[in-house]
Symmetry: C2
Subunit: 158 residues, 2 copies
């Protein structure tokens, strides 16, 4: 729809910003490959979590808590932030993790509204096993990912 604009742009010495004027076959291929790689990694992660008896979100919640800088617990809202979901979604998620005995709720002594979500011994063990194989996997896919990212250096711009 911007063909005419491109033409006008092309009449200048240098087009200001070609934007979506030219997205080439190679660009689609690069994006598609990149997304496929991400999906593969995410699928690997889901499979691993599933084998450990966890849903992907449960795994990510545990990781968010143990991966928090400085502390070993998080509040509901902070978990929601890190997981990019709404507060009440985090509430429900934590409900299920509590039911599984993988986290516990403790009211914050300094603010009665807030609760601290702590990972239990059992939760920590499962997360540790999962994390170990994830580190391996990230190492494995790193070269592929780097190669795919590199394709975008010269892409799409003009």
């Amino acid at each position: 729809m911007d063909e005419s604009h491109r033409k006008r742009g092309a009449s200048r010495k240098r087009p200001v910003k070609a934007r979506n004027a030219s997205v080439k076959k190679a660009d689609y291929e690069a994006l598609a490959e990149f997304r496929y790689a991400l999906r593969k990694f995410l699928a690997f992660s889901e499979e691993a979590a599933s084998k450990a008896g966890l849903t992907p979100q449960q795994h990510q919640a545990l990781l968010a808590i143990k991966g928090a800088p400085d502390t070993d617990w998080l509040g509901i809202s902070q978990i929601a932030e890190r997981l990019l979901v709404r507060h009440h979604t985090a509430v429900e998620l934590i409900d299920r993790l509590v039911a599984l005995g993988l986290v516990v709720r403790m009211t914050d002594p300094e603010d009665g509204r807030r609760i601290q979500v702590h990972v239990t011994k059992d939760g920590e063990e499962r997360l540790r096993a999962l994390s170990a194989i994830h580190i391996e996997e990230v190492k494995n896919i790193q070269p592929t990912l780097r190669k795919l990212l590199k394709q975008f250096y010269a892409s799409g711009g003009e």
Copy 2:
């Protein structure tokens, strides 16, 4: 569950593969950060697709088709493969895209069982706009992603 094995391994001069023996705080943080970055990118993508009137999966289906090497169409099964979903999930997904007028079904002249899913003019335009901003975004997050990946070079091993 493999604690005993670890113990036995630890009695050797050098543990063969410490695996999940030691996953440190920094490892959890690195994994958590990495996943957060992926979520952010995926959220950006969802938002962009949504603004274009598409679900994330619809966007990915269009991208998979136009991003297929050598051809400009794909069969249902191939779409399912690239999207890592079951065949019938892809069928339903394509149903919705057909309803939106973004793709069309054409029976393959060489195999009556197979159908070719082609992207329409309208579908292509939407995908082009989406792809342009995605290329921009990937360029933007590249440095962050590379930095995060780098953290895994020395991680978790032993």
